[in-house]
């Protein structure tokens, strides 16, 4: 549970920040997806982008957690 929160919570906060900064600078109508203009509604674009940011940030948190394991943790046999 702790690990889950350690991964999901900071990444949520950073994703919210990234979302705010990204979309104040970029209009979703200027985005292209696989060469096509993004045709989703505004709310859908913002939501998908947010979840995307969250996923990327969570991946980063997860890697941190993974690399933070001590030698003792890695050597320990189950």
């Amino acid at each position: 549970m702790l690990k889950l929160i350690q991964v999901l919570w900071p990444s949520f906060a950073v994703a919210a920040l990234a979302e705010a900064v990204f979309f104040t600078v970029i209009d979703p109508q200027e985005l292209y997806l696989f060469g096509q203009v993004v045709h989703y509604g505004a709310l859908a674009t913002y939501s998908i982008a947010f979840l995307g940011f969250w996923l990327v940030c969570a991946a980063s948190s997860l890697s941190t957690l993974f690399l933070q394991r001590s030698a003792a943790d890695i050597n320990r046999r189950n």
Partner: protein, 477 residues
């Protein structure tokens, strides 16, 4: 946020023997005793104010539109008479600076005022605990109910509590989404339950997290998730008002009969009733000194004052005071005098200056903006009568709250004119209108290549409102 040297050691010591999973799971569930008093009243006042604002604002109208709406689809933020466009991101930055400095300022003066009285986590926990108290009874009954085996009564009270919590949470989620998607449309969707998938997703998402944070996680959010709790210490100094147990007066603590002079027993004023611990929403003992878990809610002050009243001791064994005041036996006068110190004066000055800049910037915002975009498809075209045509698209942004008509003129080259005569366009309140202009110039009017020209856009009803936008006119070589 780098921690001072003793901290990592402590953290290791407390963490090493146990698996890290236990940090959240072995949490001792708190049965927080309800409290009344001056500070509890202040908190409830702020619960009312913030929630009337939060739940109420999406229902207000202003100039035939929702008064407060962060309209994502239109990329415009409506806040009563003011409309923010993506170009106004500058104001958002200033707003963040204001929030940060306000936090520094108030924390330096009186500690975690925000956490104790106004933070949504505190406010919703307060509401959810009130519901819990109404349905499951006081802290003792709640604990008994938790320990009791499942029965009809337990099932009923549990379900009732979760149901009411769920309704409040859903309503909170709905209100949250109503800030981004017009309330009228949401209501219409609610009537027929035809929400857009993402609207429904965010209502449930926000609602579920309200439920989880205010109902289940509570103090753990403050203790483990909140970043402010981690760096608050850098804003504290010995003159910061914090909730403090007066150790010199209280110790040695101990039980005694009412009416006996504690000094004759060799005791201090603390009767060790433990109520300050029972009312603490984060489950700490304030008598151990200032701790990072303390959210500054002052519940222990209210509780202790009532006990002191019953014992006929003076109030304030636990009170808002400063480290210096306690050490040097200062009265209120000296404490107030030390509110004005370089730190708070600097924070206060910066805060005032940035607030003024915000207001000034808002007041002197141009009510008209125009973007000129050259048509890239046809750079320059020869038309009848030996004239050269360039095509421009003008985005006219009317920031005002009324419909305005704008006229266009062009200058900069001899004989330059707009095909079909100068156009007029009407732009609605706080909206954008695009217009395509074909500009004609005799072929020998300028040098081959790019020549500077200028559009003059003027409001018909107010000729003083005009804007010049430069662009280039291409003549073929």
């Amino acid at each position: 946020m780098s921690s001072p040297s003793p901290k990592p050691q402590q953290a290791q010591k407390s963490k090493a023997p146990q698996s890290s999973d236990t940090l959240y799971e072995s949490r001792k569930k708190l049965y927080v005793r309800a409290v009344t008093g001056v500070f509890a009243n202040w908190r409830w006042a702020l619960v009312w104010i913030t929630q009337i604002l939060f739940y109420g604002l999406p229902w207000l109208s202003w100039n035939d539109r929702q008064a407060v709406l962060f309209h994502l689809a239109e990329r415009k933020f409506y806040i009563f008479g003011t409309v923010f466009w993506p170009q106004d991101v500058f104001f958002l930055a200033i707003l963040l600076i204001i929030s940060a400095y306000a936090l520094f300022f108030f924390t330096a003066i009186a500690g975690r005022l925000w956490c104790g009285y106004a933070c949504p986590q505190t406010v919703y926990t307060e509401i959810f605990m009130w519901i819990e108290q109404k349905i499951e009874g006081d802290h003792i009954r709640r604990q008994k109910l938790d320990q009791a085996p499942m029965s009809a009564n337990k099932l009923f009270r549990r379900s009732a509590k979760f149901l009411v919590w769920g309704l409040v949470a859903l309503w909170t989620g709905f209100t949250f989404v109503a800030y981004f998607s017009p309330t009228s449309e949401l209501l219409e969707a609610a009537r027929t339950f035809s929400f857009g998938p993402w609207e429904l997703f965010w209502i449930l998402f926000y609602g579920a997290f309200t439920f989880l944070f205010a109902g289940v996680l509570r103090e753990q959010v403050c203790k483990y998730m909140c970043p402010y709790a981690r760096f608050q210490a850098v804003m504290f100094d010995p003159d910061t008002l914090v909730i403090t147990y007066d150790e010199a007066r209280g110790e040695p603590r101990g039980v005694r009969k009412k009416g006996v002079d504690p000094r004759s027993l060799g005791k201090g004023d603390c009767i060790d009733c433990g109520i300050c611990v029972q009312v603490c929403p984060t489950g700490i003992d304030i008598r151990d000194g200032l701790q990072y878990e303390c959210i500054g809610c002052a519940a222990c002050i209210d509780a202790c004052d009532q006990v002191m009243d019953k014992m006929n001791y003076p109030r304030g064994l636990i009170r808002y005071t400063t480290e210096n005041a306690l050490k040097k036996n200062w009265g209120n006068k000296e404490i107030v005098a030390h509110v004005f110190r370089p730190r708070t004066l600097i924070y206060g000055t910066v805060l005032a200056v940035v607030c003024l800049a915000f207001v000034w910037g808002l007041a002197s915002r141009d009510p008209l903006r125009v973007d000129v975009i050259r048509d890239r498809a046809s750079l320059a075209r020869e038309v009848e009568g030996g004239q050269i045509e360039n095509v421009y698209r003008l985005h006219v942004m009317n920031m005002a709250e009324s419909t305005r008509t704008f006229t266009f003129e062009v200058s900069g080259l001899p004989g330059v004119k707009i095909a079909g005569g100068p156009p007029r366009i009407e732009v609605g309140p706080a909206s954008t209108q695009s217009v395509t202009l074909q500009v004609l110039v005799p072929y020998d009017a300028g040098k081959p290549g790019s020549n500077e020209i200028e559009f003059l856009i003027t409001a018909e009803d107010d000729p003083s409102l005009s804007l010049r936008e430069e662009t280039t006119f291409l003549l073929p070589r």
